[in-house]
Symmetry: C2
Subunit: 207 residues, 2 copies
């Protein structure tokens, strides 16, 4: 498609550089910006520059934060002995929104995926080992990575580098979703939910 | 969802202000920006500010342009007697990409839609009338608006304001798409394609 303006062309190209945004969608989004007041477009654009200039990765858990340490790592009310290992900030936000977890986090920044050229050194795995060996007092790691080949590989790698350190490792429970009809659950999940069945008393106590 | 940073919150809010972008998608897009170098984020953001500062609506046809008059209106090689009336720049781009049209355009900026509070005065209809009455030498208008209630209303309004001016009005042909199987065409389109059938010789000459 041919554009009548090099400024539209440039803006569309930038918008289409975002993941999952094609050129047609990009044009639609750019045209919606053209219709706005200049001050609103300034605010739109500056929000991304401000973000990039002020955002830090927390020095401890690599969560995104306005400060050097994130609000979860500095919260004295949270259990420092339990660390939930996740891929990125979206997982932290999803877990936080459940309000069921009072420990801290460690963000790896992804998972081991040789196909995408992501090895252990691209992730915050050494930093995780350092944390566990430090005087933070960590006793348990909850591995909350995706249930995929890459997630499993990463879990295995973590279990190896922490072998013999007396750290309790667990993964989040996999099973049929609460409120899901059995007939709509996929076979692998349903099979796993039978293998990993929980004693009835426990389920009763929770509900 | 709770964000650990007010800068992320602000950026997500701005991203989610774009049409069709929800907060989850906005967060994904914003996180992809966080991963980029600062210079790239600057270039991303500045492309929208530059666009807004430099873009004009062509004084004649209201197409978006870097100059006061767009490249189509200033192209002496195009037929000034024929004007294609469209809703917005995306229609111009779609028609231009066919390379079948050598006339000029007039962008209304939408179509009459009382439900959305868009009346004739919100559109460039007066400007269209002025152009037709001016010494531009316009003899034909091709109405290329959507085949919807609003498009038909707008077509009817245009036919009324130009009544008795000796201007030839036409609409683009509606019918079964080239390469479409008849059985998959919708009834209304197929019905119209029979009512608006074209002589066989003409079809032969074109193919």
């Amino acid at each position: 498609m041919q554009h009548s303006s090099k400024y539209i062309e440039a803006a569309v190209e930038q918008m289409a550089s975002l993941p999952g945004i094609g050129r047609k969608t990009a044009l639609r989004l750019v045209l919606s910006l053209v219709k706005r007041d200049e001050s609103k477009v300034q605010r739109f654009a500056n929000s991304f520059i401000d973000l990039k200039q002020h955002i830090h990765f927390c020095h401890t858990c690599y969560n995104l934060s306005d400060q050097e340490l994130c609000s979860i790592c500095t919260d004295e009310g949270r259990d420092a002995a339990v660390i939930c290992v996740v891929e990125d900030i979206r997982d932290v936000m999803a877990i936080e929104s459940t309000q069921q977890y009072k420990g801290r986090y460690h963000e790896l920044g992804g998972r081991i995926s040789p196909m995408d050229g992501i090895g252990p050194s691209e992730l915050k795995l050494d930093a995780l080992k350092e944390r566990v060996l430090s005087d933070e007092g960590i006793t348990e790691l909850i591995l909350a990575l995706s249930a995929t080949m890459e997630g499993d590989t990463t879990n295995f790698y973590i279990s190896r580098i922490l072998e013999g350190r007396g750290i309790k490792l667990s993964t989040i429970a996999r099973g049929v979703g609460v409120g899901t009809e059995l007939e709509y659950a996929d076979e692998i999940t349903l099979g796993r939910s039978i293998l990993d069945r929980t004693p009835f008393e426990v389920s009763l106590g929770r509900s």
